[in-house]
């Protein structure tokens, strides 16, 4: 299976990656290789094998519903580029 240029651009957009036009053929090859591998796996007969959702054959341990976290806002916000009135600031995402 081979990905064309517009598909590579769409995948880059979904991942919010900016890519150079000249690198597209290379990405196309690499991504296509991954899909080839998926195709090979799909061709294996898995009749009678039950699907798994996780490679470890374990089930989740749950936590009880208790508040265990304290307010560490000041500590976390020291690492943020911009904050105001307790909010994290980001570029405006709507008009």
């Amino acid at each position: 299976m081979s990905l064309d240029k517009s598909e590579v651009q769409k995948i880059a957009w979904l991942a919010r990656l900016s890519i150079d036009e000249q690198d597209i053929p290379n990405y196309s090859d690499e991504l296509s290789n991954i899909l080839d591998l998926v195709d090979r796996m799909n061709s294996v007969d898995t009749k009678g094998v039950s699907p798994i959702a996780h490679p470890l054959d374990l089930v989740a341990r749950l936590r009880s519903d208790n508040v265990t976290e304290t307010n560490q806002r000041d500590h976390f916000q020291k690492h943020a580029p911009l904050t105001e009135d307790g909010c994290y600031l980001v570029p405006k995402v709507i008009e």
């Binding site: 959702a53 996780h54 089930v59 936590r63 009880s64 976390f76 911009l82 909010c87 405006k92 709507i94």
Partner: protein
């Protein structure tokens, strides 16, 4: 052409846990920005989600209430999209193997008949944070307190055929989650909100028409208005010979219209895949049995019981069981009233509801408690006060002047049932109204019933409303007809 509407709803209800679905941060509403957003909620590197068992149990509770299958295994998936109030770049949700599979509820239609609406599935997911686009100049402020709050998304089958059915369904789900005490259902605070999928098709056609999705509607009234607007719009488009574009639309309650969100934003490709950070959840049959054995009485069952054991009308029973708090109030009132059900129902659906609506109050905040109302009704029953005087007593109780007995005592509202005292008033009124007596006595019997009202009114006025109306009537008839 005749058109048929098809509606399906996705309801997001916030689960009433203390802590978040994957972290130990608090979920309380109204805290200062970001004081309840811990490292997990912020999506900092190296953190791992751990599932809150209470959220799982609440979801199972809901599933059992709608008679759904609870699969033995449930898995969480990542739903990938970028938005600043979703710090990880994905929302942990469920795709395959949701916690609740197919179930159903019954809704009541306006003509009194009922209709079963299928629930496709209900799955657990985390809420996102809140973006504030005002007040930060050219920037957007992000508050992540809500990020990671547990949500149960309840997805219906496309079984509804008009806006009223959709509202009835939404109200029923609202009532169920509140009865189960798994959500406060507070719509102003966003704890209960809904997306509506709406399409129309020529009547008789099997395939569905192209649908649009109306996002984030947070009141019953708006759901009805938004759907009705959208039905009209779609029919107009189709009758013009154009086609419906499958898209997400926003409802604007101020203008009462829906409008398209920009297509770029809704070119969604969520690329769901199982979250490798979370192992599958195993649901033991013993847990399901345990939860089942503690399910409370649900609205439909309670309504049936109210009709059967309290002899209430369907309308009264529907009203009184619409909220668990109202039903509880009613039962406590009946208890205090010594088993009097009809008067209790009347006072709650009438006077009390009117007062609560006027003050925009919940029944749980009523200054007149169920016990107070019940004790007052007891006094109507034992003829201490008349129904008319009771309105005065009720107002006084509402205004915090004490309980019924002390108000009756202090204001001297006790009904006069002493026959000789009433007789004296009756005699006075008859003596002072020769013209009316003459008119009454010359009228045919079928007109006398109406004319007697004048005398009753006069006697009641003389007694300041305290004479027993039944006795007044009887005495007047006796004397005027003799």
């Amino acid at each position: 052409m005749e058109w048929e509407t098809v509606i399906g709803l996705e309801i997001h209800t916030q689960l009433a846990t203390e802590s978040k679905i994957f972290s130990g941060a608090a979920t309380a509403y109204g805290a200062e920005p970001n004081v309840q957003a811990c490292a997990v909620d912020l999506g900092l590197p190296g953190v791992l989600p751990v599932i809150n068992e209470q959220a799982i149990q609440m979801a199972i509770k809901f599933g059992l209430a709608i008679e759904a299958e609870i699969p033995e295994r449930s898995i969480f998936a990542r739903k990938n999209y970028f938005y600043p109030d979703l710090p990880k770049g994905y929302q942990i949700s469920q795709f395959e193997l949701p916690i609740v599979s197919k179930g159903h509820i019954d809704i009541q239609l306006e003509d009194g008949s009922s209709k079963t609406i299928g629930v496709t599935r209900a799955h657990l997911e985390e809420d996102a944070g809140k973006s504030m686009h005002e007040g930060f100049g050219k920037l957007t402020g992000i508050d992540l307190n809500r990020a990671g709050t547990p949500l149960l998304e309840i997805v219906s089958e496309p079984d509804m055929r008009n806006a009223k059915e959709a509202v009835a369904y939404m109200k029923k789900i609202h009532s169920i989650v509140r009865y189960l005490e798994i959500s406060d259902g507070n719509m102003q605070e966003g704890s209960f909100r809904c997306d509506a999928n709406v399409s129309v098709r020529p009547k008789g056609q099997d395939e569905f028409g192209t649908r649009t999705e109306l996002k984030n509607i947070n009141s019953f009234r708006f759901v009805e208005q938004a759907i009705n607007y959208e039905i009209e719009r779609q029919i107009d488009v189709l009758e013009e010979g154009s086609e419906i574009v499958q898209e997400t639309r926003l409802y604007d309650p101020n203008k009462n219209e829906t409008r398209s969100m920009r297509s770029k934003e809704e070119a969604n490709d969520y690329r769901y895949f199982p979250d490798p950070d979370l192992l599958p959840v195993q649901i033991e049959q013993s847990l399901i049995d345990e939860i089942k054995s503690h399910l409370p009485e649900l609205p439909d069952a309670k309504k049936q019981r109210f009709i059967e054991s309290f002899k209430l009308s369907d309308d009264d029973a529907t009203l009184l069981t619409s909220q668990k708090e109202i039903a509880d109030f009613f039962e406590a009132c009946v208890d205090a009233a010594g088993g009097e059900t009809k008067l209790s129902a009347n006072w709650i659906t009438g006077e009390l509801t009117a007062n609560l609506n006027k003050e925009n109050m919940d029944i749980t905040d009523s200054p007149v408690t169920a016990e107070m109302l019940g004790s007052m009704i007891k006094r109507i029953q034992d003829n201490t006060i008349s129904g008319k005087i009771a309105k005065q007593v009720f107002e006084a109780m509402w205004n915090g002047e004490g309980d019924a007995d002390s108000i009756i005592e202090n204001k001297g509202l006790k009904q006069v049932t002493d026959t000789s005292a009433i007789e004296k008033l009756v005699d006075d009124v008859i003596a002072n109204s020769p013209d009316q007596v003459k008119q009454y006595q010359e009228s045919p019997p079928e007109k006398q019933g109406k004319l007697i009202g004048y005398f009753v009114g006069q006697v009641m006025k003389q007694s300041q409303g305290k004479a027993n109306p039944k006795q007044v009537n009887e005495l007047l008839k006796q004397k005027l007809n003799s």
